[in-house]
Amino acid sequence: MAVGVRHFVKLKLRITANGLRGQTWRVALFVLGAVLAACAAVGGYALFSLPGLLDEQRAAEVALPLAGGLVVLGWLFLPLVFFGVDESLDPARFALLPLPRRTLIRGLFVASLAGVPALATFAGTLGMVDSAARLGGPAAALVQFVGVVTGILLCAAVSRSLTSAFATALRSRRARDLATVLLACVAALLGPLQLAALAGAENADWTGIARVADVIAWTPFGAPYSMGQDVAAGRLWAVPVKLALVLATIGLLLWWWSATLERAMLGSVGRSGPRERAASARKPVAQLVPGWLPRTRFGALTAREMRYWWRETRRRASLITFSVVGIFLPVFIGVSSGTVGAPTGMLVFVGALAAVSLANQFGFEGSAYAANVVAGVPGRLELTSRVAGFSVYVVPSLLVIAIVVGLAVGRPETIPALVGMLAAAYGVGLALVLPISVRVAYALPDTANPFALSSGGGMAKGLLTFAALFGAALITVPMQLVAFLAHDVWLWAGLPLGLLYGGGALLLGLRLAGPMLDRRMPELLATVTARQ
């Protein structure tokens, strides 16, 4: 019997259903996610059908490609930063089956569409068909429907191929070099970006935006979402060209995905051989614990965490993603918003985002945590050392971010206060995230892809991330108020105030989460142990 696409879809649905069975909180998360996605879909539909309702042909031509481009961009970045990809169908599991690669890729691709995010995106973008129908009649609607379908295919292809390629790159020994190059690129981009954004902000008028939209409509990002308007405007010749453009892009992305997938599948069976490391003549304890840490339980735990943040792909991926997003986002927003002054709100986001990396800290190492349970490590000590090990990487990054942002917005005198704001947000974020990491940990699948999550995990991760970010924004409101209302005071008081605020919050969080961990160590171990 030939293996068809529907077998993959059925398998994926079955795995999703089995993952929910008997786990009340997972069902609740899934339902919550579905409801949120439905709201987003309805909102998107309303938004995208607005130009048609208002009968604004030109507005539709400008707004739809722009919005569509944003949707594709979202599919590109959100999985990397927030959600991860649902890899309930782990490609490596198919390595031993006699399947042609084409069948495998087609099956995995279609199965990746059978999920809540893809359905919600599709339903939301159908609003564009509505618009096209009102503006250009049934022909335009039909063309736009084709466009929307290719659009969702493009979204899925983009997110699959990019996470897979990034995962392959991170696994390799050159990952460190890649990270350095990425950071350097971002840093190098800052200058030209600043100029471009400033220029854009100055001529931010209707014609400028319209010209940008016309260009985007001819890129794969906007093309699928501008076809219907082309029909409505009588540019029938544009439709086949755009269709060909989008289909070619999808084809290329799938080809790229299949190439990286092949490598990933081989990688999971025969790794590239054990890593050769130079023999060390140092004593065992000195090999583990660096000289500046005490040679105690705390030192050992912290040193192990530091090693793990660099040696484990999943953690390294989240560190690198954070560093890139952390520098890129505030600078981008700060420069392009055009207002004088530092993007304080963005920094709160960045500080809290750093802490969010610890939201599932026990899930990273899974059942290995048993060693600490058997040794009876007290909860407070466990959490303190984990925060310390992570902070070894994050605190320098936050300092760099503050300096870069201060210089980029042209206000170097605000740098100390920016550091204070970041410290407050990081501390508050940690205080929120530590109890979360103890109470709602979840097992991560044992695959080679650091962005992979078992089904339902993406929802949990996304929701917890947003909850922590929102909470941190809320709790740092007093800090932000001081920064906003008493700017002169904030310049010199920001640093000590922020350190106190963040430090106090962190102590509170540790005091709360430590005993919580003491009470539920075995339960935590059970939840982070991947079910076989």
């Binding site: 058997v374 040794a375 075995p522």
Partner: protein, 258 residues
């Protein structure tokens, strides 16, 4: 070094009372009472899925029982975990090690985690790595170790702090004969020095060779227990085991297509 001395009371090394555990309403362990005398070499036998790992996990504090008690050298594992856990070394099965560390780093980690002095950790780690033929200057990450090497480094981690009770889950699984002989020697020396070993296995030859006491576990209950001679009763342990567990033997008519 702060390893506590064995109390001079006649407490058994490990005492389980009425341990019960169910997963999703399916009973995995249905009421186990077991005494492991101090100084014994105790084998816990059972077919796959009998509840060996579940029982040992509850005994060492890795899994909270639905009901029942576990005492280690007189200390209740669930009421006084710190005192109980300080006295045991554990080699869990099907549980990952902190495998992104090198073997040497992993040993140092376990030593410091047990509150040992850095000097003692250095000295004992070097000795253990040498005896177990893992190489004191080997900088390979544990994740790249072979299955047998992983067992050996796990055993080294469990023994480093010289506990009075060793609980080992399937210590001989995936271990080659040379390493197995070495592990046997080390464990025998440990028991003759006054330590107690509890280990699970379904390899009868190993159990017959090593154990002073055995218990046979099937479907979550203890079917038979006692000294090796009592349980065997003059027959081979394998015959007793298959009879007690109630295995089936192939008649030859099925699987004809093979």
């Amino acid at each position: 070094m702060t390893v506590p001395h064995q109390r001079l009371s006649p407490d058994p090394a490990l005492a389980l009372r009425g341990l019960v555990k169910s997963f999703d309403a399916k009973p995995a362990v249905a009421g186990i009472d077991l005494d492991v005398p101090a100084g014994s070499f105790f084998g816990l036998l059972g077919p796959n899925g009998a509840g060996k790992t579940t029982t040992l996990s509850m005994a060492v504090g890795l899994l909270r029982p639905d009901a029942g008690q576990a005492r280690i050298l007189g200390y209740d594992v669930w009421a006084d975990p710190a005192a109980a856990k300080a006295r045991i070394g554990v080699l869990p099965d099907g549980v990952r090690l902190f495998d992104r560390l090198t073997g040497t780093e992993l040993l140092a980690y376990h030593g410091l985690l047990r509150g040992m002095d850095a000097e003692v950790v250095d000295q004992r780690s070097a000795e253990l790595l040498d005896v177990l033929a893992l190489g004191a200057d080997n900088r390979t990450l544990v994740v790249d170790y072979s299955a047998g090497m992983k067992k050996k480094i796990g055993l080294a981690c469990a023994m480093l702090h010289a506990p009075r009770l060793l609980v080992l889950d399937e210590p001989f699984e995936a271990v080659d004969p040379v390493s197995a002989a070495l592990i046997r020697d080390i464990l025998q020396r440990y028991v003759s020095g006054g330590g107690t070993v509890v280990f699970s296995s379904h390899v009868m030859a190993v159990v017959e060779r090593l154990c002073s006491h055995v218990a046979i576990l099937a479907d979550g209950t203890i079917r038979m227990r006692g000294t090796l001679a009592e349980v065997r009763g003059g027959r081979s342990l394998e015959d007793v085991f298959v009879e007690v567990v109630g295995g089936r033997t192939a008649t030859g008519s099925e699987l004809a297509w093979l």
